[in-house]
């Protein structure tokens, strides 16, 4: 693709002549000809007059916004993008200058240049359709030279930094991160319950809120905090929504819980990456709606559900305004009204369309976005002047927009003081949140005021850290690396001691219980396992060990070589063998944990069991105690898959007779059975009325029982009917 050379500066007569000759269509030429009072077809005359003294007077006679617009273009060496000119003038408080700029174009004072590849430029139509500002605008070089000095003086006054700003900011990204870290750590260990509507449970919320630093304050809120106050509840919901969006909190609809992986991912990142993550999280915020937040007058108006996606409809609008602000690149204080105008007026139809689903108006939402959303994430700083409230992007805010993306180095000052009473004083202004995150893993924050956080190493907090992978040596090294003073001896001693206590109880999550009848053979086999695999062996007794960690492939080989067997706890085997009425033997080495545990609850162990086996006598009282409801069914469900060959029928009957009503039976003597040749004949036999007095019971499809004393009479009648007996 051939790229056109980058345009530079204002128009020379040659460039102007070529432009109107090659790029302009007749309608555009007609407008210019009229402006300079020339004939449309005489391009030389148009050019001559455009660069003539008479026409230059028109620039000099401009006043108000039009004059400022001209001076803006002069300041840019006579060439500026239409939208950029409009944006800069919006930001400098001139309001929407589109009509003025279009007038300047129609009067031939601003020359519209075609976009790359654009031919036959129809300027009047572009003005009519409102797309003319999406092109470069230029003025003649002679005008640039004439007004250069004036533009410097005037624009220096107009766009100078606003003086006398009284900064009122106290909401910073550092504070937000501190709050996120504190809330997610607390919720990691004690989740916050949600009400049915998804709103946080107020009691748990109040407990957490007292340790949060709210916007416009510098210290943690303290016990007096009232979560029924609109600004408190709203900020807490915002904080939780940000935490969820950043992946450091999870919300299952019933409770809000910290997520260690998400916390690690965020807090271990560089400041620049965190800034980008914060910006993205804010743009995509679902459970919080800045328009509702800003407009709510009482707590009932405020949605506090963390399950409703109230902010989802604003995602498009947030992204759009982020892009406007990124392109504006303003760094100094600006009047809030001007920044609002910039956001609202750059492309009103698009923004309104983006906000339609949110059922909010552009001015309302833009105000909420700037004064509530961006302020709370610390992207902007706010101040006031005699002219009104002002706003500017903070350093981290600029990085959130994607500007100034150079990595900010972490503070190098040692910001921690460790005291012999296990308290850690952290000076927040010279501390990075990554360091705080590490401290939170092993210590409890007990106080935060005047930008000093006090943490305490407690037995619980340190052991909790150990359970998350920390160890005493690593913590001590961390403290030495970051403390401004020597780590007290008492602290190092205690950290080691707590580690000793922590290691007293070990849970091996995944592994195999190994059992063997022959302790010597087990020794040999475990020796091979230790030698060949990465399995960790915990010996539990002469014939039992536990293999922690796994190396399935090698273990499989070793087991095959040793002709071993595998028992899966979820697939019960036939380990129970009945040897008498409700009396069973079990090979304990083959029995799984669940089987042995249940047997201990429903049977008494019999002492004189055969060698290597254990014997159990089932007890009806224990069975009923174990399964008070549906005892028989549950006992059968347990025994059936665990009994060798399934639960024997005799044991099943015995269980039924002991646990429920005994099965009944009747013994009939002096009966004779008559069997017919087929079912059809038997049915006919059954229907013969005179046989009814002989038949005691039909026994099946083809057989009947008959009282033996009447058999002779029946035989006679049957012969009469032709039966062959």
């Amino acid at each position: 693709m051939i790229r056109e050379p980058k345009r530079e500066g204002g128009l020379t007569p040659e460039a102007f002549r070529k432009l109107i000759d090659v790029d302009y269509d007749p309608a555009a030429r007609r407008v210019l000809a009229a402006a300079v009072q020339s004939t449309e077809s005489d391009l030389d005359m148009i050019t001559e007059r455009f660069f003539g003294e008479e026409f230059a007077k028109k620039y000099d006679s401009l006043t108000g916004i039009a004059r400022h617009a001209m001076l803006y273009v002069v300041a840019q060496d006579g060439l500026v993008r239409g939208e950029n000119l409009r944006r800069d003038m919006l930001l400098d408080g001139f309001g929407d200058t589109s009509p003025t700029l279009c007038n300047l174009i129609n009067e031939g004072l601003f020359i519209v240049l075609p976009n790359p590849g654009e031919l036959e430029l129809d300027v009047p139509r572009l003005v009519e359709t409102g797309t003319v500002l999406q092109r470069d605008l230029a003025i003649g070089l002679h005008i640039v030279e004439t007004f250069k000095e004036l533009s410097k003086v005037v624009l220096a006054e107009e766009t100078a930094d606003i003086d006398g700003v009284e900064q009122i900011t106290s909401s910073s990204t550092d504070t937000l991160e501190m709050n996120l870290l504190h809330a997610s750590t607390k919720l990691l260990h004690a989740p916050l319950k949600l009400n049915r509507d998804g709103a946080p449970h107020r009691r748990g919320l109040a407990k957490l809120a007292r340790e949060i630093v709210f916007p416009s304050t510098f210290n943690e809120a303290g016990p007096e905090v009232d979560v029924n106050k609109i600004e408190i509840l709203d900020y807490m919901v915002f904080l939780f929504a940000m935490g969820c969006q950043l992946g450091m909190l999870t919300n299952d609809g019933e409770q809000l819980q910290g997520a260690a992986a998400g916390m690690d991912a965020y807090f271990a990142s560089s400041i620049s990456k965190r800034n980008r993550m914060l910006g993205d999280a804010f743009k995509g915020l679902r459970q919080w709606n800045e328009a509702d937040s800003f407009a709510a007058e009482k707590v009932e108006d405020l949605g506090s559900s963390l399950t409703a996606a109230r902010g989802e409809t604003l995602i498009g609008a947030r992204g759009y305004v982020f892009s406007i602000l990124r392109r504006s690149r303003f760094t100094s204080w600006k009047l809030e009204d001007a920044v609002e105008s910039l956001c609202a007026l750059m492309d009103p139809p698009f923004l309104q369309k983006a906000l339609d689903k949110a059922q909010t108006e552009v001015p309302v939402w833009v105000g909420a976005f700037l004064r509530r959303g961006l302020y709370w994430i610390g992207a902007v700083e706010r101040g006031r002047t005699e002219e009104g409230p002002v706003i500017r992007f903070s350093k981290r805010g600029r990085e959130m927009l994607g500007l100034n993306v150079k990595d900010t180095p972490a503070p190098v000052d040692k910001s921690m003081v460790i005291q012999p009473n296990f308290e850690l004083m952290i000076f927040l202004d010279s501390t990075d949140v990554t360091l705080l995150h590490r401290i939170y893993r092993v210590a409890e924050r007990v106080k935060l005021s005047d930008r000093v956080a006090v943490f305490k190493l407690t037995p619980e907090s340190v052991q909790r850290g150990y359970s998350m992978g920390e160890n005493a040596a690593a913590i001590i090294q961390f403290l030495r690396d970051n403390a401004a003073v020597e780590v007290p001896e008492s602290v190092t001693f205690q950290l080691h001691d707590w580690e000793r206590i922590h290691k007293r109880l070990v849970v091996h999550h995944s592994g195999y219980l190994v059992r063997h009848h022959d302790p010597d053979a087990l020794d040999m086999w475990l020796g091979q396992v230790k030698h060949d695999t990465k399995c960790n062996v915990v010996r539990l007794g002469p014939s039992t060990a536990y293999l922690s960690e796994n190396d399935e492939v090698l273990l499989d080989k070793l087991l095959t070589r040793a002709r071993g067997s595998v028992i899966n706890i979820e697939e019960p085997n036939g380990v129970i063998e009945f040897v008498g009425p409700l009396l069973a033997t079990v090979d304990p080495l083959q029995a799984d944990v669940i089987t042995m545990w249940e047997l201990s609850r429903i049977a008494h162990e019999v002492e004189d069991a055969p060698p290597r086996l254990r014997q159990f006598a089932f007890d009806v009282a224990l069975l009923k105690m174990r399964w008070p409801q549906e005892t028989l069914q549950k006992a059968v469900a347990f025994l059936e898959p665990r009994s060798k060959g399934g639960l024997p029928a005799s044991q099943r009957i015995l269980l039924q007779s002991m646990l429920e009503a005994p099965p009944t039976a009747a013994i009939h003597t002096h009966m004779t059975v008559i069997q017919l040749q087929d079912e059809f004949t038997a049915d006919l036999f059954d229907d013969v009325e005179e046989f009814q007095e002989f038949v005691a019971q039909r026994l099946g499809p083809m057989a009947f029982s008959v009282d033996s004393s009447k058999i002779d009479d029946l035989r006679e009648r049957m012969i009469e009917l032709g039966f062959k007996l």
């Binding site: 359970s467 922590h502 995944s510 195999y512 059992r515 002709r563 067997s565 706890i569 944990v593």
Partner: protein, 101 residues
């Protein structure tokens, strides 16, 4: 969980109780082990172990189904006890071998 031996490849108990004298591996179980019997007892009371299938192998070791581990650890943590968890989703690498007993 990430571990599983194919039990179908090995003889089951019914087939092997007499002939097979090799090791028997029970899979799907976790181990809680403590260096002090009294501490283990106290710990297990705190973890409501009576509600969970379990089997003691000494006064310092108890085996439970792996499916119950997370609940047990959560209950312990809620009571302020933070055991060292080896392996699994909560686990860390074991830094040293347990002594054989």
């Amino acid at each position: 969980m990430g571990y599983s031996l194919d039990s179908s490849r090995f003889p089951n108990q019914q087939e092997s109780s007499v002939q097979n004298r090799g090791p028997v591996l029970h899979q799907g179980v976790s181990l809680i082990v403590c260096d002090n019997a009294a501490v283990l007892q106290e710990t297990l009371v705190q973890a409501n172990l009576s509600e969970v299938e379990h089997q003691f192998f000494s006064d310092r070791a108890v085996v439970i189904p792996t499916g119950a581990v997370l609940q047990i650890v959560a209950e312990l943590k809620a009571k302020g006890v933070y055991p060292q968890v080896v392996g699994g989703p909560l686990g860390v690498e074991l830094v040293e071998d347990e002594d054989d007993t």
